[in-house]
């Protein structure tokens, strides 16, 4: 039975047999912190035993008490919240590596709060974009459900070659969506809570990608075909995205280049869809992808604009893009992706040559749209781009 006398943990107790090593290590680690949290526990216990109140939480010194935010006609958004200087000033560099929310009275607790070592993305320029808050609002408004918002029961059968092409494309898109969800997850945890707007947007991106992975998996099976071949070439590109050394570089590779490529494919969805069900899938996924591409473009701009040495930042980003474009090119030339696109564009395997002509136009669209995004970000890749502007296909 726990009493006031035995509430202090036995710090010298030997490890208990049968307990997993990871649990033992965790125990030891938190026993090691005991002089910090144990002191707080003891103080609190003493107060409870003495029957006295603290009421320190009513002390408003250092607070922004009296701030009242007003909702707009759309409701209460982060833009409305951030009109208050006290709550809406986003620091260039976060000084806090704990969970205390921006705008709370946190300075005086700096010595008592734990330090979360993993919070190491502390500079705003590595995560911010000027459209972050509005994109987050849009993301919440445009959520949809792949279970109920796609008219699955209306999916009409198509010829086997077209169904195979759709299933192969669905397999490829499922692969893409995995990394598009996993990449933000790798970084959200590391971003300082001072930039919670960025965390929130990235969570919405993860939800979008989960839904896309779900919808393309469902599409592959809903027509009576199924998932087909993974693309080794594309998986190298996905690996390169996932292992990008910084959040900005990875966001560039994922959202500006990779998701941009997928957005271009979705924008061509009218010509790839053989049923109105497929068209609806592309349409709904496209509006989600547009947000991710939008964030990536403006995040790169924000990073370059805020870089202490813009020239050095550009040199570094160009070097990164040189290799990034090449791995994406590896994917973009892959028959497991291009040939299904050609079959769908041409309306069947017998017209694959004709479909390749359509893919030629799609290629030019992909590259030009990418270069325009780079222009918008202030990152001129036109002279340096290592992806051919025209499709290297000889009929």
């Amino acid at each position: 039975m726990t009493t006031m006398d035995n509430i202090v943990p036995n710090l010298s107790a030997p490890p208990i047999e049968g307990v997993a090593d990871t649990t033992t290590a965790y125990q030891q680690r938190y026993k090691g912190f005991y002089d910090q949290w144990g002191e707080l526990l003891q103080t609190n216990m003493d107060r409870l035993q003495a029957g006295s109140f603290h009421l320190g939480w009513m002390d408003r010194d250092g607070s922004h008490w009296g701030t009242k935010v007003k909702p707009s006609s759309r409701g209460l958004t982060y833009m409305d919240m951030n009109r208050s200087k006290a709550y809406g000033t986003i620091p260039e560099k976060s000084e806090f590596r704990n969970f205390a929310p921006r705008g709370s009275i946190r300075d005086r607790y700096a010595d008592q709060l734990p330090v979360i070592d993993e919070y190491d993305v502390l500079e705003r320029m590595h995560v911010w974009s000027d459209n972050l808050e509005t994109l987050y609002e849009e993301a919440k408004v445009r959520q949809w459900n792949s279970t109920t918002d796609i008219p699955w029961s209306e999916l009409k059968p198509v010829s086997e070659d077209l169904e195979m092409a759709t299933c192969q494309l669905s397999t490829f898109l499922t692969e893409v969506e995995f990394v598009a969800g996993d990449f933000p997850s790798r970084w959200i945890y590391r971003i300082s809570p001072d930039f919670f707007e960025a965390k929130n947007f990235l969570v919405s991106q993860m939800m979008d990608e989960a839904r896309h992975m779900e919808v393309f998996r469902k599409r592959a099976l809903a027509g009576g075909g199924g998932l087909l071949h993974p693309s080794p070439a594309f998986e190298w590109a996905l690996k390169a995205i996932l292992e990008s050394p910084t959040h900005t570089q990875g966001t560039f590779l994922l959202n500006v280049l990779g998701e941009g490529l997928v957005l271009s494919i979705f924008r061509a969805g009218e010509f790839l869809s053989k049923t109105h069900v497929d068209k609806e899938i592309f349409r709904l996924c496209m509006q989600d992808e547009a947000r991710h591409v939008s964030y990536g473009t403006m995040e790169l701009k924000s990073y370059l604009d805020a870089a202490p040495n813009r020239e050095a930042a550009l040199i570094d980003m160009h070097a990164f893009a040189d290799i990034g474009e090449q791995v994406i090119l590896t994917a973009l030339t892959d028959p497991y992706i291009l040939e299904p696109l050609a079959v769908l564009m041409g309306d069947g395997i017998k017209n694959i040559d004709d479909g390749m002509e359509g893919v030629t136009f799609l290629w030019a669209t992909i590259v030009e749209e990418y270069l325009q995004r780079c222009d918008r970000a202030g990152f001129d890749r036109r002279a340096k781009c290592t992806i051919p502007l025209e499709y290297p296909w000889s009929a």
Binding site: S73, T77, F271, A364, R376
Partner: protein, 99 residues
């Protein structure tokens, strides 16, 4: 004095990210998603727009313009996002030949 229509417009290269829609002040709410447009593009209600320009910095493709400064480009826009018209033309041509 009655206010005239606004001067801002969104050209055809909009990618439909919707960032501008929420930058528009709530009471104005002049930006809307165009119904039935497969590309999911947005447009501005000129009679509602107050020319505040808050939407412009949020656009990732520079497709929002002030007609007083840029003139009007028949909504076609410029740059890479116009290339899809070639694909659209190719597809339309195929349909015509199939007919």
């Amino acid at each position: 004095m009655a206010r005239g229509p606004g001067s801002f417009y969104i050209d055809a290269t909009c990618i439909g990210c919707g960032a501008c829609e929420h930058a528009c002040p709530g009471k104005v709410d002049a930006i809307y998603k165009v119904d039935g447009d497969f590309l999911g593009r947005f447009a501005i209600v000129l009679d509602d727009c107050i020319d505040c320009g808050l939407c412009i910095p949020t656009c990732p493709v520079d497709c929002i313009h002030d007609a007083r400064v840029d003139g009007i480009t028949q909504g076609e826009g410029e740059g890479g996002y116009t290339r899809i018209k070639e694909l659209q033309a190719w597809a339309a041509d195929r349909v015509d030949h199939a007919d």
